[in-house]
């Protein structure tokens, strides 16, 4: 969680400084969901994430240097500069890609689930998406299909309360999204998404179910998006008080450290040491990204088709 938080904080700073082109979407405040879920997965399990996907990538084991380089648009990035923040993928560790189309990942994860079933392995396929995505048609199609075929899929909605600039109450017919699972005869789990231990507990159960061939689970991690929809978002749609109310006490990192301090798994000294180690790795990643070359313009013409 510290790595995800620091990586995104760094990304926000470099974006503001004009070093990262385009636009980026940060998941600060939602780290317990990405890390909690991915920490229950094996390297050969599949994950599809969203435009807000840095956390899922890092939690699934992505390389920080190649991630940073991709954000900077460099040739050494995961996608050689062709994807950027919204399309980072690492197929070697089961990350089937971040997806720039809201809800775009759900039909694809269903196909990954079908593939697992046909190949008779015990892998699991996880799709992250936001509360805004739950209103798109393909979500209905994917959840129904995964349910009728009992596919080993976890549908993880990170309900961060805001669908871009529109609040949950104005975009969803229910406040508790997990209730929608009932319509697919699928278990729906409501989770305190800022508590990593709760996330892990529910995810582990769903993963066991999936590996045992008992079918998909819909998990709603209730959380909050601390930053704007995108970096630079003027955020006229919400108040500072609302944002503040989800920080400090409710912050997922603070909450987990409190538990660790209390149980004496963590000391102030160790915490400082972890922060310093993470910062040092991130510095290395940024240095790597900054020192890497941009792609040649003509590189835009490669990687479209593969020779069979």
């Amino acid at each position: 969680m510290v790595t995800v938080r620091q990586f995104e904080t760094m990304a926000g700073e470099y974006f503001a400084a004009g070093k990262i082109p385009g636009f980026i979407h940060l998941s600060i405040g939602q780290e317990a969901s990405s890390v909690g879920v991915c920490s229950c997965l094996r390297p050969d399990d599949y994950v599809i994430t969203t435009h807000r996907g840095h956390g899922h990538m890092i939690a699934k084991g992505a390389d920080l240097k190649r991630m940073a380089a991709e954000l900077f648009g460099k040739k050494t990035g995961y996608c050689k500069g062709k994807g950027g923040s919204m399309h980072i993928a690492d197929f070697s560790i089961g990350i089937l890609g971040a997806n720039g189309v809201v809800a775009g990942g759900l039909p694809i994860i269903t196909g990954a689930g079908l593939s697992i079933k046909m190949r008779k392995t015990d892998q699991v396929a996880v799709c992250f998406f936001g509360d805004g995505a739950t209103n798109r048609g393909p979500v209905h199609e994917a959840m129904n299909m995964a349910a009728i075929w009992k596919l080993p899929v976890l549908f993880v909605v990170e309900n961060n309360q805001w669908s871009s600039t529109t609040p949950l109450k104005d975009s969803c017919s229910v406040v508790d999204l997990y209730k929608r699972a009932a319509g697919y005869n699928m278990p729906g789990e409501k989770v305190d998404g800022n508590d990593i231990l709760s996330v892990r507990k529910v995810t582990a159960k769903a993963v066991d179910r999936a590996r045992a061939g008992e079918g998909p689970t819909f998990i709603e991690n209730k959380t909050y998006r601390i930053k704007g929809h995108f970096e630079g978002d003027p955020q006229k749609y919400r108040t500072e008080e609302e944002v503040k109310s989800w920080q400090d006490e409710k912050d997922p990192l603070n909450r987990f450290s409190r538990v660790l301090f209390k149980k004496r798994f963590l000391s102030r000294k160790l915490a400082d040491q972890i922060l310093a180690e993470v910062q040092s790795k991130l510095n290395e990643a940024v240095t790597f990204a900054e020192n890497s070359p941009f792609p040649e313009p003509e590189d835009a013409l490669t990687d479209l088709y593969i020779d069979s």
Binding site: Y46, G77, Y78, C79, K80, G81, K82, G83, H87, A89, D90, F91, S92, L96, G97, N99, G100, V101, G104, L106, P107, I108, I109, T110, G111, A112, G113, L114, S115, I116, M118, R119, A125, G137, P138, E141, A142, N144, M145, I148, T302, D303, L304, Y305, I306, D307, S308
Partner: protein, 326 residues
């Protein structure tokens, strides 16, 4: 090489049997496939011979296409049946934003071997939402390959190439041609994608066509012969990649071209091909490049109107006469 006379449907089913026996990662996914071997009987024998590898889905085109993408990314070789090609509109994100782009966006990390089988075309009095020819939409999407076979021989050779290709391939087969018969070799042959065929040699005008347009050209060429116009027929077979070399060789000989397709004319594949001809073969053409296609309206239901809207043999003849000045 032993040849039999087979229908296009039988050629397709034979090719699928051979491919599915060869590679167990191939499977077929779509609506209403198992009980009738596809709604046109196009997968005859597959449900019995490959149980579990032809799968009925709910009516969920977006997810069917997305399932193909997800399965292709994780080691399978799916064939997606789109029921009627018109329904691709319900899966456009999965086809054009996902399948076409995932390899590119990831910097070439992955392959996406998927065939999207689309029964298309008019003439069955099926009206505007079950009759379209939409191939040009996909030619306009980098990352996809587009195949439109005409005769049974090509159906077998091209579907095999499409299945063995590691890229997403849109495969359009005209509904009205399923029963059309022709010689099909028994062998395991593959027609490379991007290879056109000169199916009738001639010296006066090149008829550039694909799919149902081929049969219009066959009839037109015979009528033109009686008018002492010697037409060459080039069946493009694959629109992307396009075999411009064969097109160039033909036009360099005839110096005249008529492009024939069933899709409506405006923005159709003929527009792209005509543009390339004027750009790359300007010195070779002695007359304007003509296009024959459907009129720019949705396909109407009532027979007199549908027949009027679709391109006819006579349209091909008139276009050829206009540019041969005879």
């Amino acid at each position: 090489m032993t040849e039999r006379i087979l229908s296009s449907s039988a050629a397709l089913a034979e090719a699928l049997h051979e491919e599915m026996r060869r590679d167990e990662t191939i499977f077929i996914l779509g609506e209403d496939l198992v009980s009738h071997a596809g709604i046109f009987g196009q997968f005859k024998g597959i449900p019995e011979n490959f149980p579990g590898r032809i799968i009925d889905t709910p009516i969920s085109e977006a997810c069917i296409a997305g399932c193909g993408v997800g399965a292709a990314l994780t080691g399978m070789r799916p064939i997606i049946d789109f029921h009627f090609s018109d329904f691709v509109t319900c899966g456009m994100d999965e086809l054009c934003n996902q399948a076409a782009k995932i390899r590119y966006m990831s910097g070439g990390q992955v392959k996406l071997p998927m065939v999207v089988w689309c029964p298309d075309g008019a003439g069955l009095r099926a009206a505007a939402q079950h009759s379209q020819s939409l191939e040009a939409w996909f030619v306009h999407t980098p990352g996809l390959k587009v195949v439109v076979p005409s005769d049974p021989h090509d159906v077998k050779g091209l579907i095999k190439a499409a299945i063995r290709d590691d890229n997403p391939v849109m495969f359009f087969q005209h509904k009205k041609l399923f029963a059309k018969e022709g010689p099909v070799p028994e062998d395991d042959y593959v027609i490379s994608l991007g290879q056109a065929a000169v199916k009738r040699e001639g010296k006066d005008v090149s008829l550039l066509c694909y799919g149902a347009g081929y049969y219009l050209c066959l009839e037109a060429a015979e009528a033109l012969r009686q008018m002492e116009i010697d037409a060459e027929i080039v069946d493009l077979r694959t629109l992307k990649p396009l075999d411009m070399e064969t097109v160039a060789a033909s036009i360099s000989k005839t110096h005249r071209a008529v492009i024939v397709h069933e899709a409506c004319r405006t923005g159709g594949f003929g527009a792209e091909l005509a543009a390339r001809i004027q750009d790359e073969l300007f010195d070779e053409v002695d007359a304007p490049v003509k296009r024959v296609g459907a009129k720019d309206v949705p396909i109407p239901f009532s027979p007199p109107m549908e027949d009027f809207v679709l391109p006819s043999v006579r349209d091909v003849i008139e276009a050829a006469r206009a540019i041969t000045y005879r």
